[in-house]
């Protein structure tokens, strides 16, 4: 009857996303530098697919927030609603979040993932998305583990 489920579900979701982003960034960076990948093709495809699904979901939430200012976000838990709002806030922090993902919307990044268009733009976007998720998971972690 307590709400541990909310925090641990957010923790699990963010841990999984961070893992996938790291995998993709390692793969893309090594590919751009002309090195062999450290992962199998199937593993990368699966990671891209999951990140795409997440970005599509995030994109829908962000669009709702931007198009219908003040309207509620429905069918989504508190932590994901928070993440979407943090994403919109981050878009105004131009110094910290300057990749195409935050300058425009998740759509161009979805296109790059869809078309296997590996570029510095894609790497920067995923790196900044990781930064946002790291901020987000630190809240979950403090609730789960407390502070020393």
């Amino acid at each position: 009857m307590e709400t541990k489920w909310l925090t641990v579900q957010s923790f699990q979701r963010n841990q999984n996303l961070l893992d996938l982003i790291s995998k993709l960034l390692i793969h893309y960076k090594l590919e751009l530098e002309g090195h062999d990948s450290l992962f199998g093709k199937g593993e990368i495809k699966e990671a891209e697919q999951e990140i795409k699904l997440f970005l599509e979901k995030l994109s829908g939430l962000v669009k709702s927030l931007e198009d219908k200012k003040g309207d509620p976000l429905t069918g989504t838990d508190y932590r994901l609603r928070n993440l979407a709002r943090n994403f919109v806030d981050a878009k105004s922090k131009r110094r910290m979040y300057k990749s195409i993902l935050f300058k425009t919307s998740p759509e161009p990044v979805l296109d790059m993932l869809q078309n296997n268009n590996i570029s510095e733009n894609l790497i920067d976007s995923l790196t900044e998305l990781r930064r946002l998720l790291e901020e987000h998971i630190s809240t979950d972690s403090s609730k789960i583990f407390g502070h020393l």
Binding site: M1, E2, W5, I21, P72, S141
Partner: protein, 378 residues
């Protein structure tokens, strides 16, 4: 320099995992917890593999991927911390008395295809659950409740959270549909461009968003009732009715983004559903008891727009749809009108209902009856 830090941290994590593996191997578990222990063994092994990967990749000296190796190491450290602090105690603290809860949960899991293969454990704390897809389920419950049959029906509510995540997409759609109806009920009649209008819009947003979490709790109550019948009504009421004024009335600012509806409101939904399940006498009893406590406290219901009877039918419909989607077992499938337990014949819901019957008939003699029954179970 970064390479050295990463090497040290990976070695440190590896050492911690090896100690944990040793502790895990030293602890025997009940048969019902074997799959949980096996999951932990695999989880430690998987983190170790990733640590070895990190160490190998550091040797490649591709400095461009050091930020990612750092991120992976941090992520694996968090996973390890999560497992060691939340999952390992269930094995490490294992006691003979746990067998009662483990048997009940094993039975519950086996009744549902969604949970048949899902490892689980129990841990100390207030009633709660970790209903995760990639980890085993942990059920938390107070130490005193671990030894008694009376409050175990509250597991059925917690199990509802697991059913929700097992059908998340469909369940979120049901909630979304309801939230959209709610938004139309609450929509200010005329759009204006003044501060009051903005405040009203913000309140609508808070109410509609809060209902995402509330919907799940009402669904879990309905699951508890559907599985446990009278035993759930009793356990719910006894567990929560002495929680004080907050169980009946909360400030508007406390309702905003709260995770649970006011308990009194939950009893209203539970009682109505119980009447539909032909538990009329028990439902009336539940309502009367809560109303008497409210009267004594001098409390009248006030939900500040977070609840109105206008929403009632839509909420009931949403929860009905969720129950159809997740299909929890029903207490109605077995005879609950039993006075004595036959271990070979009766299931745990029948045992819990029988326990409440004995408890309310003679509280003073209940403990003797219960210890005989529990000793037969374990």
């Amino acid at each position: 320099m970064m390479k050295n830090i990463l090497q040290q941290s990976n070695l440190d994590l590896l050492r911690a995992i090896e100690i944990s593996e040793q502790l895990l191997n030293e602890n025997d578990v009940f048969p019902e917890a074997e799959s949980y222990k096996a999951w932990l063994v695999n989880a430690f092994s998987s983190i170790k593999t990733q640590i070895e990967q990190n160490s190998n990749w550091l040797q490649l000296n591709f400095t461009s991927i050091f930020p990612e190796i750092l991120n992976r190491t941090q992520e694996q450290s968090r996973t390890y911390k999560f497992i060691i602090s939340k999952y390992m105690p269930s094995i490490y603290r294992l006691r003979k008395e746990d067998h009662l809860c483990l048997k009940v949960l094993h039975w519950l899991h086996n009744q549902h295809p969604q949970s048949e293969e899902k490892p689980f454990a129990i841990s100390d704390g207030g009633f709660a659950i970790y209903p995760l897809t990639q980890y085993p389920i942990i059920y938390f419950l107070p130490i005193s409740s671990q030894h008694s049959l009376l409050y175990l029906p509250l597991f059925f509510h917690e199990f509802g959270h697991f059913l929700y995540v097992s059908h998340r997409n469909e369940m979120d759609d049901f909630v979304k549909e309801f939230q959209e109806k709610l938004e139309t009920y609450l929509e200010p009649a005329f759009q204006q461009n003044n501060q009051q209008f903005q405040r009203d819009r913000e309140k609508v947003r808070n109410i509609v968003e809060t209902w995402y979490e509330w919907a799940q709790e009402l669904f879990c109550d309905a699951v508890g009732l559907q599985i446990g019948g009278v035993s759930y009504l009793k356990a719910f009421s006894y567990h929560l009715r002495m929680n004080g004024r907050g169980a009946f009335l909360q400030r508007e600012s406390d309702l905003e983004r709260s995770s649970h509806p006011v308990v009194w409101l939950r009893t209203k939904f539970l009682a109505a559903r119980a009447k539909n399940l032909n538990l009329t006498h028990e439902a009336n009893d539940l309502e009367n008891q809560w109303n008497i406590i409210a009267q004594t406290l001098g409390v009248t219901a006030e939900y500040y727009g977070y609840y109105s009877d206008q929403y009632y039918q839509d909420i009931v419909q949403m929860v009905d749809n969720m129950l159809i989607e997740t299909a929890p077992i029903s207490f109605q499938d077995q005879d609950q009108d039993i006075d004595e337990i036959d271990m070979g014949k009766h299931n745990f819901v029948q045992i819990m209902n029988c326990a409440w019957k004995h408890y309310e008939k003679d509280i003073m003699r209940y403990s003797i009856w219960e210890s005989t029954v529990v000793s037969k179970i374990i």
